[in-house]
């Protein structure tokens, strides 16, 4: 580590600064511009995911030998990218980073042979989907105790269970299924496209409408023994996976909250009521001040946890607390965004209701967007 890194510092590296500029440009021109249309249609516009390939998200961490750029794993750079894309559109950004979440998890937990087998196909010129199946349809779902089961068999493992909100599941080449191994730990298994016993049904939510969020049912799905991530000492690190995923979701939400803040700032300055802009009223202005305060606090929490992860320090508590704060405050920002526009905020002509619906996902999503 360089000497400079030993100091508390909020300055971006030159590389991060340049990357942010291009991410922000891309978010503005390719995500924000189609945000409403995609939400209304309930589908990702054709060509969008292919366009995201130019960002190189998947290529960056894949080892050079496997066709990638071989850059070191960088949770902090991933968090910055997620924030910038999330400002354009939360759902589309989530879809864009979904293969990356798979790749990061395989790099963190997989053997060399597994990386070679599963990452090479993702180092492609076109968009190749791969995803993670984690959440389950249960009101008290507990990430540390998934109910999907993996039973050891003569050929490998047999998987049974139901997973929800699996992003891009129907087109994914690989689905990483997190399951409780009978008599063992919670492990991650790679299920290949079209496996027997795998059924995928696209479902709609309150938000995230532009992207495929699927319920994946596993009925006696057989996988080989080496489809279980890791080997020997290096086995699946569930706590780390949960923490990195929460940070990814939080990072996406920072961008969306930034979009809310900008929108209501402009609106409150233009909207005239009682003879003056509503921004002149403390009741409105203070809501906006609090958005700015909480957003900055959340950002620093996410950055701190991500930077600890990047430096190989323990970061689970930081990630947990960042998620607690983001789950509550992003929704507060979402709901106040609609409130400031009043009745107009409720009309689908303005984006605030869309952000409101998407931001509700922050406290719910688990296992997505691992940075």
């Amino acid at each position: 580590m360089s000497e400079q890194a030993a100091l508390f510092d909020l300055t971006l590296t030159e590389e991060q600064r340049i990357t942010r500029e291009s991410m922000q440009r891309f978010a503005e021109s390719e995500l924000k511009s189609i945000s409403r249309e995609s939400d209304e249609n309930g589908s990702t516009p054709e060509g969008f995911l292919d366009k995201t390939v130019e960002l190189g998200l998947s290529l960056i961490p894949i080892p050079e030998a496997l066709g990638g750029a071989g850059m070191p794993r960088s949770p902090i750079s991933n968090a910055l990218n997620a924030e910038d894309l999330g400002k354009g559109d939360f759902s589309l950004a989530l879809a864009a980073v979904t293969p990356l979440a798979f790749i990061n998890t395989v790099i963190d937990n997989g053997t060399e042979a597994q990386q070679e087998k599963y990452l090479s196909p993702l180092a492609s010129e076109s968009f190749v989907a791969a995803t993670i199946a984690f959440m389950e349809p249960k009101a008290t779902f507990e990430p540390t105790e998934p109910e999907t089961k993996a039973e050891k068999s003569s050929k490998g493992y047999v998987l049974n269970g139901v997973k929800t909100n699996v992003v891009l599941a129907s087109t994914a080449e690989y689905i990483l299924v997190i399951a409780q191994e009978t008599g063992g730990n919670v492990e991650a298994f790679i299920v290949e496209k079209g496996a027997n016993g795998l059924s995928i049904e696209s479902k709609k939510n309150m938000g995230l409408r532009p992207i495929e969020t699927c319920t994946v049912t596993l009925e006696n799905v057989e996988v080989a023994a080496n489809a279980k991530l890791g080997e020997g000492e290096k086995s699946f690190n569930l706590d780390k996976f949960i923490a990195l995923s929460r940070l990814g979701t939080c990072a996406l939400s920072l961008g969306t909250c930034e979009a809310v803040l900008e929108y209501v700032t402009e609106y409150a300055n233009e909207r005239i009521a009682f003879g003056e802009p509503i921004a002149y009223r403390q009741s409105v202005a203070f809501m906006i001040a609090n958005m700015a305060i909480e957003l900055e606090g959340m950002r620093l929490m996410v950055w701190k946890a991500a930077s600890r992860a990047e430096q190989g320090m323990d970061f689970y508590r930081d990630a947990y607390l960042a998620h607690v704060l983001c789950a509550e405050k992003t929704m507060e920002i979402g709901t106040n965004g609609v409130q400031i526009l009043g009745g107009h905020g409720f009309i689908r002509e303005h984006p605030v209701e869309l952000w409101y619906r998407n931001l509700r996902a922050v406290g719910i999503l688990e296992g997505c967007a691992s940075i």
Binding site: L7, T11, A268, Q282, I293, W303, Q311, Y320, L321, L325
Partner: protein, 413 residues
């Protein structure tokens, strides 16, 4: 490069001050809460160790001359690098720890007064030399002037080689124990904010009278004085800054803005106090709950946790967020970036989070929390003022809102 860990020097300072707070302040915290206005001999010792100086002022400068324990940590971080972790960040770390020990005693630390911050940021080198290492309180508030510091009505009139002060001041922190008071007064009420200047008034100057000490809900170890000034005469060059009253509107604004800038340094310090008290409440209530089998492992989803665990996690998230905001404000000041907005953000978040955490901690521990047998109830009394003085929650929100919305004080009142 993004890194939100404390530098080595700051970490050392963190440990040192936490140790001092635990070892020296906690044991006497209750005693001086009860004795309220008594002298605190223990604090003289600690004050000597800390080297005095104002936490809000340019600490680096004052401490580098003194060669005390604190200063040995200050100069090393970032001196040869572009980015600095300097005096303001050190102050955030230090103040939060001392306040973790006892916020009342923190405010009674000899040599650490708000007036010191004003002197450090505004005094000329000649004045700094002459006033030396004073212990200076700050007299801004008047009976009819709270958050609106521009409505100051205490007057200063030049008579020959002396200023003559007349008026009343209240809420002067450490007014009894300090040896000097920095007094805000107007040269000409009709000229508004621009005519408000600050004056260094040594205690014992004829015409200056300490009228009473307030009896408060919390921070009782810290004295809060009221003064009256009746034809109180001080030397002409005890004025801080220029005696000129700007004649254009623009220049007047700028002049008052300069006075208010002291707050960009002091607000993160009060934020640090709130963070310290909030953290103290969290640590103590967690200890109590842990003894009864409640564990805190930061694993289960918030709503799969018990209510006590979930509440604790929320409190911790708020305090951590406030801490990072205060460190950021300090970091910006150390690196010469304008930080008015960030200073107010940290104060707003920390003030309300510290207050909330301390009140919740009492509730979480039930009768143990409410009892004077433990310090939790004291933390909950102390924390409230931190969301009030040095700019209330509402004033901070106003500053942030004007900044974000790009509005003037005429537009957003």
């Amino acid at each position: 490069m993004i890194n939100l860990e404390l530098s080595e020097g700051l970490k050392n300072m963190d440990q040192l001050t936490r140790g001092l707070a635990q070892g020296m302040l906690r044991p006497i915290s209750r005693k001086y809460d009860i004795q309220e206005h008594d002298d605190i001999p223990e604090m003289e010792q600690l004050g000597g160790l800390m080297g005095g100086g104002a936490p809000g002022g340019s600490k680096k400068e004052s401490d580098s001359e003194s060669g005390d324990v604190m200063s040995s940590f200050l100069s090393e971080d970032g001196s040869s690098n572009e980015i600095k972790n300097g005096g303001q960040m050190t102050a955030v770390v230090t103040v939060s720890n001392i306040a973790w020990g006892c916020c009342g005693l923190m405010l009674a630390l000899p040599g650490v007064g708000l007036g010191n911050a004003a002197i450090q940021s505004v005094a000329t080198p000649e004045q700094k030399e002459r006033f030396g290492r004073v212990y200076a309180g700050m007299a801004i508030t008047e009976p009819s002037t709270g958050s609106d510091s521009s409505a100051v009505s205490t007057t200063a009139t030049l008579d020959g080689d002396e200023w003559v002060l007349n008026g009343e001041k209240i809420f002067v922190t450490a007014g009894h124990r300090c040896n000097t008071v920095v007094v805000w007064a107007t040269l000409d009420k009709s000229k508004g904010k621009a005519a408000i200047k600050s004056f260094v008034v040594p205690k014992g100057t004829p015409g200056m009278e300490l009228v009473r000490l307030e009896k408060k809900m919390g921070i009782r170890a810290s004295d809060t004085a009221a003064f009256s000034f009746n034809n109180c005469r001080i030397p002409k060059d005890n004025i801080l800054g220029s005696a000129e009253v700007a004649d254009t509107e623009e220049a007047r604004k700028k002049a008052f803005g300069g006075v208010m800038q002291t707050f960009d340094n002091t607000r993160p310090m009060v934020a640090a106090m709130a963070i310290g008290v909030g953290q103290a409440s969290i640590d103590m209530s967690k200890d109590m709950l842990s003894k009864e089998g409640v564990s805190f492992d930061y694993k289960k989803r918030l709503y799969n946790c018990s209510a006590a665990q979930a509440e604790m996690y929320r409190m911790e998230a708020d305090i951590e967020s406030a801490r990072l905001l205060a460190l950021k404000a300090g970091w910006m000041a150390d690196n010469k970036m304008p930080n008015s907005k960030e200073a107010s953000m940290s104060k707003a978040k920390a003030g309300r989070s510290g207050s909330h955490a301390s009140l919740k901690a009492v509730e979480l521990c039930q009768s143990l929390g409410y009892s004077v047998d433990n310090l939790l109830e004291k933390f909950a009394r102390d924390s409230k003022i931190l969301d009030i003085f040095e700019g209330t929650q509402q004033i901070q929100q106003l500053i942030v809102a004007r900044n974000v919305l790009g509005l003037s004080s005429k537009e957003l009142k």
